[in-house]
Amino acid sequence: MQALRGLAWLLALQSVGELMTRGLSLPFPGPVIGMMLLLPALRWRVVREPVSACADFLLVHLSLLFVPVGVGVMTHLSLVSQYGARMLAVIVLSTLAGLAVTVLSLHLLQGRPDPMGKEGPDA
C-alpha cells in the first residue's frame, strides 16, 4: 500500500510537471520539474515514507526500463547501416571523454578521502 501511495505521489508530481512545462514553456521535461518539486516535499513524512518505498523499487530496476527504447534501434537500421560505425565511434569516444573528465576532476577536487553513506541508509 505504501508503494502504491508513493507511485500516486510520483505520477501526480509528474503530471504537475507536465502541466507546468507546457503552460509556462519551461526548458525542462515534465518529469524533471516533478523531481524538483518532489525534492523539497520530501521533508514531510506523508510524502517521504510512501515515496521512498516506491522509489527504491523503481530505481533498483532502472536498467530494465531502458529495454523498450533500446530495442527501438531496429527501426533505425538504415541509418545504422549507413552511419553505424561513425555513430558508434562518436558515442564511445565522447563517453570515455565524459567519464575521464568527471572522474579526474572530482578525484583532484576532493583531495582527502571523505566516505559517504556512513550516516544514512544506503540506496
Partner: protein, 241 residues
Amino acid sequence: MPKFVELWVYLSATPLFGLTATLVVYVLAQAAYARLGHAPWANPVLWTVVCIASGLLLTDVPYPSYFAGAQFIHFLLGPAVVALAWPLWQRREELRRRWWRLLLAALAGGIAASGSALLLAWALGLPAEVALSLVPKSVTAPVAMGIAEKIGGIPALAAVFAVITGLVGALAGKYLFDALRIPVNPSGWAARGFALGTASHGIGAARALQVNADAGAYAGLALGLQVVLASLLIPLAFRWF
C-alpha cells in the same frame, strides 16, 4: 506447422507478447549476469536488447506491435525520473558540504561528453539531425528525448544513443578508471560512481550500484544532477548559438 504460425501471429500482435518478452528475457539475462560474476560485457540490458531486437527481426514482428506491450515498462521511466529526488534527498548533507566540487565535476563532465560528441559528429560528417540527437546522450533516455526534441534532433534516435552511451559506460568504465589510476578506496569509489552517473546515466548507475554502495550512491546523485543541468543548459546553449 500452420497451426503454430497462426498462434504466433496472434500472440505476437497482442500487448501481452511485448510485455512478457521484455520481462522474461531481462530476468534470464539478469540471471546469466549474476552467474558470470557481473562481468561488464555480460550487461543484462545489452543482451536483452540484442536478443529481443534480433528475435523481432527474424520473425518479422514490427517494432510498434512489440512496443504496444513494452510501453507499460517504458511508461515507468517518467515516475522513475521523478523518483530520483529520493537519492538526492538522502545525500542532502553530503550535497550541502561538497556541492561546489560535485557541481563543478558534473558540469565539466557534461560539457566534455556533449561537446566532444558534437565536435566528433561534425568532424565525421554525420547529418545535422543525427549530430543534434547525439548531444544529450549522457542524460537518461526519457530526458534525452525531450532535450533532442527541443534542439532539433530525432527523439527516438536520441533515446537509442542514450541507451548505447549507458552501455559503453557500464562496459568500459572499470577499465578506464583503472587505467587512470583512480584508487579503490571510499573517495575513489565516490569519484568512479559519480563519473558513471554523469557520463552514462541510469545504466552506468545500475552498474555502479552493483559494484559498490558508495559508488552507487554517488552515481544516483550524479544522474539526478546531470538531468537538471543538461535539461537547463543544453537548450539554452543552442538558443544562444
